[in-house]
């Protein structure tokens, strides 16, 4: 029985529930607070979204409490803000205080509360759009025409007292255009637009923003029609600019015409072309490199056999006692007062490099300087010294105890004959293929030859050697010559000065001669150099007797039969430079 009653009650309840569920009635769904906004930092409104009402009439109740308070208040105004809103008037609004707001949905079935929303009025400021937007076309007489846009601040914002700080943004466009032209203005309530297209209908909108907060909505569009005869541009200014630029152009043209080339050269100086003596650009253009190089060569260079002839022709052997120097115009001046031997680059005299004997003789010009201070240079290796500026100096250097060499050296930097302090590369381009030693040897050899081998029958011409290996001989030659010079006072041997071309020494191969020895009584014994080409050495003939002196101051030596035998016995086959005392 009881079981029956209990189960009946349960059954009825379930039936009732079923019926109600079938009817669709349920407690309301949780509403949701959407947003709260304050238009002027003095009031604010909150809106919510109701959920489903569960099929029954549902009331919504908004409750809140403030930060630091426990008292719960209800929404003072549900109407002003529209449906599902709550409006907080001035007296209910506090800034810098958190509001905790909740909306409750109530119906017969139950109550649903929303999640609380924490609101600080400071951060929910969104003003209304500006009001009273007016557009006006202004046409002042002495200025450009413009569109004058005016408006007033949005409602509910107290800008005057500084409570609400506001900024504006205006945008406008011709009706059919797609892009807006925007202008931003802080604070002011008017704007002038200048460059408008006539005949167009313009649309204008404006919105506002607080100093900290959200932008307002755009105001409704205002439109204005620009008349067709609206003068857009101030053309007078452009006419003036055009005339001025035309005048300037005319002036420039006139100046160019008048000054012409000089002005152009003043502004754009011509690029200097390369200037190399003998360099013909046209040859280069044609591509004839050989011709070009030939043009670059000096006509005396490299020394050919012609040069040798010339060298031979113009060997000048100075009289050691005589201070007579080459009667050449000397353009330079040495400290010692010795005229340098110029390398005559321009003429074909061949004196330049071949001046060495004259230099040597210059050294000999001061006999007091080197009588018997003549001693062997340190070693033959010095001759192979690549610094050829030393080789010529070997002999003189040894006697330069008193510094007499300097006139050699002094000539060097300035004179163009033997630039001893300078490397051979600075030497005359005419003979740049040769180093100084070669030329020295050349000249010395020649000098020796001219001095000795003027014997018609037994002449050995100086061979122009192009290698430094002959330096040894050159040294020997020099030594001999120095000897010759030093023994000069005793011997009274005069070195001739061949100024003229002598047929004797023309077109003859040149050879070196060897100083064999100096005999007891100061006789210089000279040997012709053994020519290796001829295999077995010839019988050495000693040239130690002066046969004659020609007009051109050429010393002709002949073999001395008396001394010859003696030398052969005493110093057989001595070809090396003798060790001199």
């Amino acid at each position: 029985m009881f079981e029956n009653a209990a189960s009946r009650v349960v059954f009825i309840l379930l039936l009732f529930l079923n019926v109600s569920l079938l009817n669709g009635q349920s407690p309301p769904e949780k509403p949701k607070l959407v947003k709260c906004r304050s238009p002027g930092k003095e009031t604010f409104t909150c809106w919510w979204e109701p959920g489903t009402d569960g099929g029954l009439p549902t009331n919504y109740k908004l409750t809140y409490h403030q930060e630091g308070e426990t008292l719960i208040h209800e929404c003072p105004d549900y109407k002003t803000g529209g449906p599902n809103s709550c409006y907080f008037s001035k007296k209910h609004t506090s800034i810098w205080k958190m509001y905790v707001i909740t909306v409750n949905a109530i119906n017969q079935m139950g109550i649903s509360s929303s999640d609380p929303l924490y609101v600080d009025v400071t951060y929910i400021v969104e003003p209304e759009p500006p009001a009273n937007l007016t557009l006006e076309l202004k046409h002042p007489e002495d200025r450009k025409p413009y569109l004058w846009i005016k408006w007033s601040p949005p409602t509910m914002t107290d800008v005057k007292s500084g409570w609400f700080i506001i900024q504006y943004e205006i945008r406008l466009k011709p009706e059919k255009a797609t892009d807006w032209e925007t202008h931003f203005t802080p604070k002011q309530t008017q704007l002038k637009i200048f460059n408008l297209y006539p005949g167009q209908k313009y649309l204008v909108q404006i919105r506002s923003k607080p100093d900290h907060g959200y932008w307002s909505e755009w105001s409704p569009e205002s439109s204005i029609q620009i008349p067709n005869d609206f003068p857009v541009k101030d053309t007078s200014m452009w006419i003036f600019v055009a005339i001025l630029s035309a005048v300037i152009c005319l002036i420039m043209v006139w100046a160019v015409a008048l000054k012409g080339y000089s002005m152009v050269t003043c502004i754009l100086p011509p690029v200097p072309g390369p200037k190399i003596k003998g360099f013909d650009v046209h040859l280069l253009e044609k591509g004839k490199s050989e011709e070009l190089l030939r043009a670059l060569e000096s006509h005396d260079f490299p020394p050919t056999s012609d040069c040798e002839d010339l060298l031979m022709e113009f060997i000048e052997v100075d009289d050691c006692e005589d201070q007579q120097l080459m009667p050449r115009p000397s353009k330079e001046h040495t400290e010692q007062g010795v005229k340098p031997m110029h390398l005559d680059l321009d003429s074909d005299s061949g004196r330049g490099s071949c001046d060495s004997p004259s230099l040597l003789s210059e050294k000999c010009d001061e006999p007091q300087a080197h009588p018997s201070k003549f001693h062997t240079p340190e070693g033959p290796e010095k001759l192979e010294n690549p610094e050829t500026n030393l080789t010529c100096l070997q002999a003189p250097q040894s006697t330069s105890g008193e510094g007499k060499i300097p006139y050699f050296l002094a000539n060097g930097p300035k004179s163009s004959t033997w630039p001893f302090p300078q490397p051979p590369s600075l030497y005359s381009p005419r003979y740049s293929y040769h180093n100084i030693a070669d030329v020295c040897e050349l000249a010395l050899g020649m000098a020796g030859t001219t001095a000795t081998s003027l014997d018609q029958t037994d002449q050995h011409a100086l061979k122009a050697s192009k290698t430094i290996e002959t330096g040894r001989e050159g040294k020997a030659t020099k030594q001999r010559e120095s000897e010759g010079c030093s023994s000069k006072p005793d011997q009274d041997t005069v070195w001739p000065r061949p100024q003229d071309k002598t047929p004797l020494i023309s077109a003859k191969p040149l050879e070196y001669v060897e100083i064999h020895k100096v005999s007891q009584d100061g006789v210089l014994a000279l040997f012709p150099k053994q020519n290796e080409k001829f295999g077995a050495p010839e019988a050495s003939k000693e040239y130690s007797k002066v046969s004659r002196v020609t007009d051109s101051n050429i010393l002709v030596l002949v073999p001395d039969p008396q001394a010859q035998n003696l030398t052969l016995l005493e110093e057989p086959a001595k070809k090396a430079p003798p060790a001199l005392p």
């Binding site: 930092k41 003095e42 930060e67 630091g68 001035k90 609004t93 506090s94 800034i95 810098w96 205080k97 958190m98 905790v100 924490y118 600080d120 400071t122 951060y123 107290d158 800008v159 005057k160 007292s161 500084g162 409570w163 700080i165 604070k187 100093d211 900290h212």
Partner: protein
């Protein structure tokens, strides 16, 4: 002798010319505006001081808002820190006006001293904020750089406010006590959540107080300089 006399004449004429030109030029020079509240030694005009102060306070509030939003986005999502942030500001003891009417009824002296109190009470917390944000793991540069900037600007604004105060209320004493911040231990706790909550509170309070300072200054600016006609 004649030349000497003529040269002397020329010299005197030149001197006269210089004097006259100087006088004329001096007349044309615009003198700096006199202090509106009486004769004082105004070196920078009050208008300029207010302009500057308003700019700086606006800037500080912008930075504080950005900093708070960054922190909220990064560390406070879904944590409900806001509930703990209620009533957590150390400056709540200051009697600051909380709506327009109240503010308009407050005398500018009071408003100014309130501003000064707020600025002074934030010196210390800002310093520690910078230090602690630096030590925070993965501290984004957006937050740190703004914290450093705010600390600097706060000092600048305090200086400017003191100058304004000296000009607007000459002879006033500035010995008002200001609230002291004692939230450093909570910034340094080991518990990460508690620490982040403390940071949240501090940034929330900073945002609010910078807004107060900014609003009061703008109000004062319009009231004093523009005579309620902004």
């Amino acid at each position: 002798m004649d030349s000497k006399g003529s040269s002397q004449k020329a010299g005197s004429r030149l001197l006269l010319l210089l004097v006259v030109s100087n006088l004329l030029l001096c007349q044309g020079v615009v003198s700096t505006p006199v202090c509106p509240n009486g004769p004082g030694n105004c070196q920078v005009s009050l208008r300029d001081l207010f302009d500057r102060a308003v700019m700086v306070s606006h800037y500080i509030h912008d930075l504080s808002s950005e900093m708070f939003n960054e922190f909220d986005k990064r560390y406070a999502q879904g944590k409900g820190f806001i509930t703990m942030a209620l009533n957590s500001c150390h400056t709540s003891s200051l009697p600051t006006p909380e709506d327009k009417e109240q503010a308009q009824q407050t005398h500018h002296e009071v408003l100014m001293s309130l501003i000064l109190g707020l600025l002074r009470s934030w010196n210390d917390p800002l310093y520690h904020l910078v230090t602690e944000v630096r030590g925070m793991k993965g501290a984004p540069d957006a937050i740190l750089s703004r914290a450093i900037e705010i600390e600097e600007e706060n000092k600048r604004l305090l200086e400017g406010m003191e100058m304004i105060f000296g000009q607007v209320i000459p002879g006033a004493k500035e010995t008002e006590p200001y609230p002291v911040w004692s939230g450093l231990p909570s910034l340094q706790t080991k518990d990460e959540d508690a620490r982040y909550s403390a940071f949240y509170n501090l940034l929330h309070c900073l945002r609010r107080d910078s807004s107060k300072i900014d609003t009061y200054l703008k109000l004062l600016n319009c009231r004093i300089i523009y005579n309620n006609n902004c």
